[in-house]
Assembly symmetry: D3
């Protein structure tokens, strides 16, 4: 079993805000992240698939195909976007776009598309908000 | 003469938009950066001062002091902010917050504060929007 | 289950020396690391907690709180210190401050403080001595 | 149990080519990687061993010894070499030197040499072809 | 005056060989780099242009345009290629593809295309062979 | 003219202390850096030489030779050493081993050895104490 990983980056805005709280409570809990004008990051999305290398190609999956899946399923929706305002999973305050939740949403978008590829399965999704902070999700295990 | 450099990072949102243009022209010229919801980056601000090391301390400037200046003059206004909406130099479409203009604005904010410190002068300001893109300004030379 | 990670850095001195050996044996086994004047590193401490994102905040833990814990439990004792001479676990030659042992000591300092936070548990501690060398500890599993 | 990791880099050429296919099919599947003149990378080899720190030295393994093993078993054969033409496991089109297969071949070369060292075992081998792509192998588990 | 920089990466093979020397002399001077099967690197090409930000766009140059120029003038010829065998400037042993010469050749390819862009001029080209080695060229100054 | 740069790293301890001051004044000015047990860093030494590529080799200088010079002139004295206690220029409190002064001392050690190499001259020395702080010296210009 090989774990094969592809990294891409995207730039997005977000803020942290719980619609059921007062502005004061949002400011207390979320600090500067509660600024409703938004702030942003260069995120890194790291996707790992698990499988055996195909003896014919030497590939677990074709990395060009994997990058295309990452771009279609995640970057087309997230890159150069405001996550709270433009990504459906986070819309209307449904889900706060923390690094943790971005990793879960990315997994949920990627997993069905990767499952269709014979011989490999999504193993983990890691999202870096910065060099100091990252979250990793391995599905509902 | 020694060039001494301090790096800090900040997270901010921005968009590119020329108020005198149509939405179509903005989209054509600026592409995805014209999204008015904003997108964001982890910026790196790199400030270089020039001078002789003080024989008593070995310092060109005290780097803790320099970091404080960078935080007071730039990060207090830029970090976790939307540059177009919250930084006066970029407000009301006066100036588009490209990496080039962010470097010039940071210089203009830092230069007077650093000039007051005997024995050192601001030499250059470099701003990284990402690992692939950066702008450097050395004042009105 | 999400794995959420925070990185910080600290600067410290250390040397490798087994008090029960001769100087010759220390020099043979530990080479340049046996220099009793000490040498130093910029260490990176990477702490990973495991848990479910709180539906109210989107956080597994508040990362500001986690950073405070890392600073109080580890950096207050290790940063800008000589590990052999100033950190109790390594004092009087009790334990050699290799990267492996630094990771274990950091775990033992962090685990009780993190256990008190409802909903998350310490999952792993990784310590980088340099970009080429790192040790990871997951507790007494 | 501690996981202790050592990183080294090497520079090598390779190409992707399946001898049983036509040139057209190779070009279709492998794209620019099918160029038989070869292209190259700065690879990073990351080797992780698992064990308990020796109470006498504080080492899981002596990292100088581990680096020597990595150089003798892998870098002596791979560094500044053309993998398809000069590394026996990949010769005569036997195995395509994808990142996945390089990780497996490195494991197979390292595992017997590390097994001889009392108290530690090879835990994983990770190979980076670039900052965007890496493969990890943990043996025939 | 602003210096604006764009980085891209490419993967290529090369070797060092002086056609007028014996194999022995090539091996003595160039060591492992004289292996005629070639070895390779992930190169980073860093291109800096100098100019004033256009008051209408905030751009010294459009970075998408600059990236296109870099891809057309340099990467189309260098990426996934064997520099000695496939790049005309280095062909038939005319010029040894050292990092120094790659920087000069990249400058000579980029300078005419950038000169056509009003308001900016090529300022420097930096080529990294690895994180440890890089060469910078500023034209025939 | 080409600027050719080589990077190496070294690990060292140091502290900041002015022998003519009281302990209180040292603590006030130097903060945690005044701890006389020392603390340490992974320093990066970046040496740039300027010259024309030799038409016979393509080299400004042989980078293996340059690395040897850096190791003989600087690393042999600095690596795995306590700079205040073991490097003559900093001994007996003569000079405080700030990043600025380390760059000047490294220049003074390297410049005579590089001057002997025909066709190249030392252009600049840059020393990184960390990713956030670095000093650059270009000689007594």
């Amino acid at each position: 079993m090989i774990l094969l990983t592809r990294r891409v980056t995207f730039s997005a805005s977000h803020y942290y805000w719980n619609e059921t709280w007062t502005a004061e409570k949002n400011a207390t809990v979320f600090g500067r992240c509660a600024n409703r004008n938004g702030h942003g990051h260069n995120y890194t999305l790291e996707v790992t698939v698990a499988g055996e290398p195909d003896p014919v190609t030497g590939f677990v999956v074709d990395l060009k195909w994997l990058k295309d899946v990452m771009e279609q399923e995640v970057l087309a929706a997230f890159d150069h976007r405001h996550l709270n305002l433009e990504v459906s999973e986070f819309g209307q305050g449904k889900l706060i776009p923390t690094t943790e939740n971005i990793a879960i949403v990315a997994w949920n978008r990627l997993e069905p598309a990767i499952k269709k590829a014979a011989g490999a399965q999504l193993s983990k999704v890691r999202v870096y908000e910065s060099q100091e902070i990252f979250a990793e999700y391995r599905g509902g295990q």
